[in-house]
């Protein structure tokens, strides 16, 4: 398999632009929010038991 040139890849991404789908937005926000909530919870738990 020949390795594609990065410039060609970038050109192709421009011409075949893929907009962010709603499911991608959901994935981003759900993971981020759950990460922040869990982080806060674990900080509180670790403080409580240390």
């Amino acid at each position: 398999m020949s390795e594609p040139r990065m410039t060609e890849e970038l050109e192709r991404m421009k011409t075949e632009y893929e907009p962010l789908l709603p499911i991608e937005r959901k994935l981003i926000w759900y993971t981020l929010v759950s990460g922040i909530v869990l982080l806060a919870a674990f900080v509180l738990i670790s403080r409580a038991f240390s």
Partner: protein, 498 residues
């Protein structure tokens, strides 16, 4: 991905990413067996047999002839040259068996390994020179008026620099020794052995060890749930990367470098070349982090050593570079803490926390790849008949972690069951530690050889690198620092008694 594949890419072709993934799985298992083999040999000390005491160790030196000695007093009459030769032959034998299992060319591996061993050990020797390595408390005994106080682990940094010189300026030589340039195999083997060493630490400080493990688990959230979505969003929204590129890039920058990029690439059915190109970038930036962050940690975090340790585990990508950063930070911070306050922390705790954080992050790569595979197949690309199987979590599980857990638990169980054996277990782990140090050393050298900085200057790579620089230096290392601070500030390694 499937919607954007050109004709040439849809024809059946060898899958290099899959081949790399398979090779990594094999290396994982080999690391487990090699690590357990050395660990088992060291434990024979409990039965009164000293089977590893002949291995070479290097002390901080002013007279070169006094630098080397066998690890055990039982072998004190053995000339150091024989001890060095025995260590080389033992490692060559063990690793040739591994090379055979990996279907590597044995002749090329033997030649490559000989060069890697000699150059790495030469770096260790140079790094142990008193003017480089001696800590302030040892200067008068060694009769040196000043020193850089880097401890003899400065040899790791010198090995990395030597590897970088070979990889970037001596391409012919780098190619000749390529078969033995296996940083992942070396570091995973070292991590399996490290489990026993940490088992000893846990035996002596059970409460602290439990606390470190629990806090390590908390820190994982960051890599998967906080880093990943932000990197993915930035690369999609602001840099216009396609999903095929953005997902492996997000995993490579956020989670654990090469393994995560390859697992994600295969989960979303990206073309094999995508994770490979991302991985090449990850390796280069991991080296930059390795050369900068431990020194930054020493400068700014010597008062909070465990924060520094967790930070290395969270911020530095790839197992090798992360654990290597932990090892350097361990020696640098202990040396500075002693020089500044007279406190002597027990060695190994900073490295241990860094490794624990990294290992926990690794454990979830399979789970994350499974989640992404499900979302991509069910929601984004809707591939009919393409079922995501739970067994894939196990397939992507980094197996070397089993060896790490096994050595940790065996030492812990032995120590709890027979407390009178603890001094002997400690001596046994000290012998295994000799080999762990050598595997670490070879990892540093191999990482250097593999880091081809010319990649960054290739046409078009700048945009990929820009995402990396923006995310890594813009927020990953800072959020990593904040979270390390939240979970580890005020937690200190035990001090050396007496």
């Amino acid at each position: 991905m499937s919607t954007t594949l050109s004709e040439s890419e849809t024809t059946p072709q060898p899958d290099p990413a899959n081949a790399i993934a398979q090779s990594r799985r094999s290396e994982d298992w080999l690391a487990v067996w090699i690590g357990l083999f050395v660990f088992a040999l060291s434990l024979t000390l409990l039965a009164g047999k000293d089977l590893l005491g002949w291995a070479i160790t290097t002390s901080v030196w002013t007279v070169p002839a006094k630098a080397f000695a066998p690890a055990s007093k039982y072998y004190s009459t053995l000339p150091w040259l024989l001890s060095l030769a025995a260590t080389y032959v033992f490692l060559l034998g063990v690793l040739l068996a591994a090379a055979k299992a990996l279907r590597a060319s044995l002749k090329r591996f033997a030649l490559g390994f000989t060069a890697v061993f000699i150059l790495s050990y030469a770096c260790w020797f140079v790094g142990s020179w008193a003017y480089i390595a001696a800590t302030p408390d040892k200067r008068s005994a060694l009769r040196v008026p000043w020193s850089l106080s880097l401890t003899n682990e400065a040899g790791f940094i010198i090995a990395l620099i030597a590897g970088l010189l070979v990889g970037n300026f001596l391409p012919g030589f780098a190619k000749a020794i390529k078969e033995a340039i296996r940083p992942e195999l070396y570091i995973k083997t070292a991590i399996v052995m490290l489990g026993g060493f940490l088992g000893i630490a846990a035996l002596e400080q059970r409460h602290l060890a439990t606390s470190v493990i629990l806090r390590g688990i908390c820190a994982i959230i960051e890599a998967y749930l906080i880093y990943w979505p932000i990197v993915y969003f930035i690369s999609r929204r602001y840099f216009g990367f396609s999903r095929e590129w953005a997902a492996p890039l997000a995993s490579g920058i956020s989670i654990c470098g090469v393994s995560a990029a390859i697992a994600t690439g295969s989960a979303i059915r990206a073309r094999p070349v995508v994770p490979i190109m991302v991985s090449s970038l990850v390796v280069v930036f991991a080296v930059i982090e390795l050369m900068v962050l431990p020194f930054a940690a020493q400068h700014y975090l010597s008062g909070q050593p465990m924060v520094a340790a967790a930070w290395m585990g969270l911020a530095v990508k790839t197992d090798g570079a992360a654990v290597a950063s932990g090892a350097i930070a361990d020696s640098l911070i202990r040396a500075k803490a002693f020089a500044a306050t007279g406190i002597t922390y027990q060695p190994g705790w900073i490295l241990g926390v860094c490794t624990t954080v990294k290992v926990f992050i690794d454990i979830f790569i399979g789970v994350w790849a499974f989640i992404l595979a499900w979302i991509w197949s069910a929601k984004i690309e809707r591939r009919s008949g393409d079922k995501v199987r739970l067994v894939e979590i196990w397939q992507r599980f980094p197996k070397f972690i089993l060896g790490y857990v096994a050595t940790f638990l065996i030492v812990l169980a032995l120590g709890i069951a027979a407390p009178s054996l603890v001094p002997n277990i400690k001596a046994a782990m000290a012998q295994a530690n000799v080999f762990r140090s050598i595997f670490f050393l070879m990892t540093f050298f191999a990482i250097g050889v593999m880091s081809n900085f010319r990649r960054l200057w290739q046409e078009g790579f700048a945009k990929l690198a820009a995402v990396y620089v923006l995310c890594l230096f813009g927020y990953i290392i800072w959020i990593g620092l904040l979270i390390s601070w939240l979970f580890f500030h005020g937690v200190f390694p035990p001090m050396v008694k007496g």
